[in-house]
């Protein structure tokens, strides 16, 4: 189960929108293989009857009143924007 190929490293990096250099692919293949080998330990246990935990508290449906509230002024919204075109974030073409 453990071990990850170069192609898999590149595939995962693409899914996660991470550009990697050739050297990084080699380095991460080695490191991720060691980490995956260690975390594969969870597969030793037979837990078919144990339900999963997504969250440590048993809270259900934390409702809030649906009341409009003032939002940030646009100049603050765009204060950290790398590029702006009037009321839009400007990005390179898709």
């Amino acid at each position: 189960m453990a071990g990850i190929s170069k192609d898999e490293v590149l595939h995962v990096a693409r899914l996660a929108r991470l550009e990697l250099t050739d050297d990084e692919v080699v380095k991460f293949q080695e490191q991720l293989s060691a980490i995956l080998d260690a975390v594969s330990k969870v597969s030793e246990l037979d837990l078919a009857d144990v339900p999963p935990t997504a969250h440590p508290l048993e809270i259900e449906n934390a409702w809030a009143e649906d009341e409009p509230r003032p939002c940030l002024p646009l100049d603050e919204v765009f204060a950290n924007a790398p590029d702006r075109d009037e009321d839009y974030f400007r990005v390179p073409p898709a």
Binding site: M1, I4, E8, V9, V12, A13, L15, A16, R17, L18, E19, L20, E24, F28, Q31, L32, A34, I35, L36, A38, V39, S40, K41, V42, S43, L45, L47, V50, P51, P52, T53, A54, H55, P56, L57, I59, A62, A64, L72, E76, V77, A79, N80, A81, P82, D83, F89, V91, P92, P93, A94
Partner: protein, 463 residues
């Protein structure tokens, strides 16, 4: 003369109330000290007023004050709103000394993953202060702040407190708002206090705890009681075998913890052995699947579009990939890729799904132990502070440093670190863990032990 190395926040308040010192003098006493530990990424000017100064870990959003999370991708980011915890500090008059260093996105156990260089341990500057909240812990023990806030996902408050010799609380999951705090793994992240003693720690917790409409995972919290009792009469303390005999615990760490357990008995506690058979064995593996999975999702927001770094790219996708390549360090990249892998089609059941079931098993094991005991104890870290560079090249060795802090984090339980002795001249931390919402029990036990231990929190070389 203000003794910044020894003065507690409670002591500072008494001096201010008696008008023996002014707010400006108090702030300056910390702000003017040379930060040769690199505890801070950013230091603030005195905003005025006469409240107690505080340092905040740089994952905590502060309006108008840079918040980088130790990452190049947020190097120029200045929040336009306050996190709820920062707002709560302001409401109580606390004045911001600055933002403390952290491993990038709080991912690490030494601050060596900070994009801006590591912090140093006040007891021995050639060693790490722990992580990820090493900056906050170093600031408190190095006399650069009377107290501080950290954040803890798998041990990032407790472990640095252990390595720097101060008191740190990871609160029960859901007691402190994360609104405005840079997210790492949202089913685990908690903000909590770092202080010189348990009473300060409890008081700071009372300032930040409580339900927040902006974080729907928060709940109503029992009223905080400042601890005063000197004894442990009636307290049932469990000693989980696996957490006290785990491979890799240094003999000096074991010895200091064992002595403290005997001390607890002499203070009237009923001490008994217990077992968490699989929590320690499987905790690290479970954590390093769940936390990266959540991180891969949380860190997807750093895309160069709305804030933070943007690198050049011919089209949107290339821009995003170049931005993340240039702006994120190796540790976030590793965790994003592990998480993406664990969540991807074909691997989900074997990795992430399985880890979630292991998490239930860990919760159940702890719940069973707390039917018989009020709290359990163990070393916080298997080792004292290690040398800068010693583990930096081996991510897996670094992960194993979290062996003893991780299980209770997975179960959403509160944990308190108190310093309990020295090994090789460096502080040893004792971890007290209780059931959910048992902070007052931890404070009571921690305070009684602290009084009896009389550990000197000032690093020997600075006395």
């Amino acid at each position: 003369m203000i003794d910044v190395l020894r003065l507690t926040a409670e002591g500072a308040k008494q001096l201010l109330d008696a008008r023996e010192i002014s707010g400006a003098e108090l702030f300056a006493a910390y702000a003017e000290r040379d930060d040769d530990l690199h505890a801070f990424l950013y230091r603030c000017d005195d905003p005025g007023g006469d409240g107690i100064p505080i340092a905040l870990k740089d994952v905590i959003g502060t309006k108008g004050v840079p918040t980088t999370a130790g990452s190049k991708i947020l190097e120029s980011y200045v929040p336009v709103y306050d996190s709820t915890v920062a707002a709560n500090c302001k409401r109580h008059g606390l004045r911001l000394l600055g933002k403390t260093n952290t491993d990038e996105f709080a991912m690490g156990s030494s601050t060596e993953n900070s994009a801006f260089g590591p912090s140093r341990n006040p007891w021995d500057p050639s060693r790490v202060p722990g992580g990820s909240g090493g900056g906050s812990a170093a600031a408190v023990s190095g006399g650069l702040a009377p107290w501080a806030l950290g954040s803890d996902t798998g041990g990032s408050i407790k472990q640095p407190s252990a390595l720097c010799g101060n008191v740190g609380l990871r609160p029960t999951y859901g007691t402190v708002s994360r609104f405005g705090v840079v997210a790492f793994a949202s089913s685990l992240d908690q903000v909590g206090p770092v202080a010189k003693n348990v009473r300060d720690c409890a008081f700071l917790y009372s300032i930040i705890a409580g339900r927040d409409a902006n974080d729907t995972t928060t709940v109503e919290v029992p009223e905080v009681e400042l601890p005063a009792a000197q004894d442990l009469k009636g307290m049932r303390i469990g000693v989980p075998r696996e957490m006290n005999e785990a491979e890799g615990i240094e003999p000096g760490v074991s010895a200091a913890v064992r002595k403290t357990i005997e001390l607890a008995e002499s203070l009237g506690a009923e001490v008994g052995e217990c077992s968490l058979p699989r929590s320690v064995d499987y905790g690290v593996a479970c954590y390093y699947l769940v936390a990266p999975a959540e991180a891969s999702s949380n860190l997807a927001r750093y895309d160069g579009a709305r804030y933070g770094l943007r690198s050049d790219g011919d089209d949107f996708r290339e821009m995003v990939m170049a931005t993340r390549h240039d702006g994120l360090g190796d540790e976030p990249k590793r965790r994003i890729m592990i998480g993406t892998y664990a969540l991807s089609s074909g691997y989900y059941d074997a990795y992430y799904g399985k880890a979630q079931r292991v998490r239930t098993m860990i919760r159940r094991e702890h719940a069973e132990v707390f039917e018989k005991f009020d709290l359990i104890v163990s070393p916080t870290s298997p080792t004292v502070a290690f040398a800068i560079g010693e583990k930096a090249g081996n991510p897996l060795a670094m992960y194993l440093n979290d062996l003893l802090t991780i299980p209770s984090c997975m179960a959403g339980l509160p944990g308190l670190n108190i310093p309990c002795g020295l090994s090789e001249g460096l502080p040893v931390g004792l971890q007290l863990i209780g059931p959910q919402f048992a902070e007052n029990t931890l404070f009571r036990a921690g305070h009684a032990l602290e009084q009896a231990l009389a550990f000197d929190v000032v690093p020997e070389r600075l006395r």
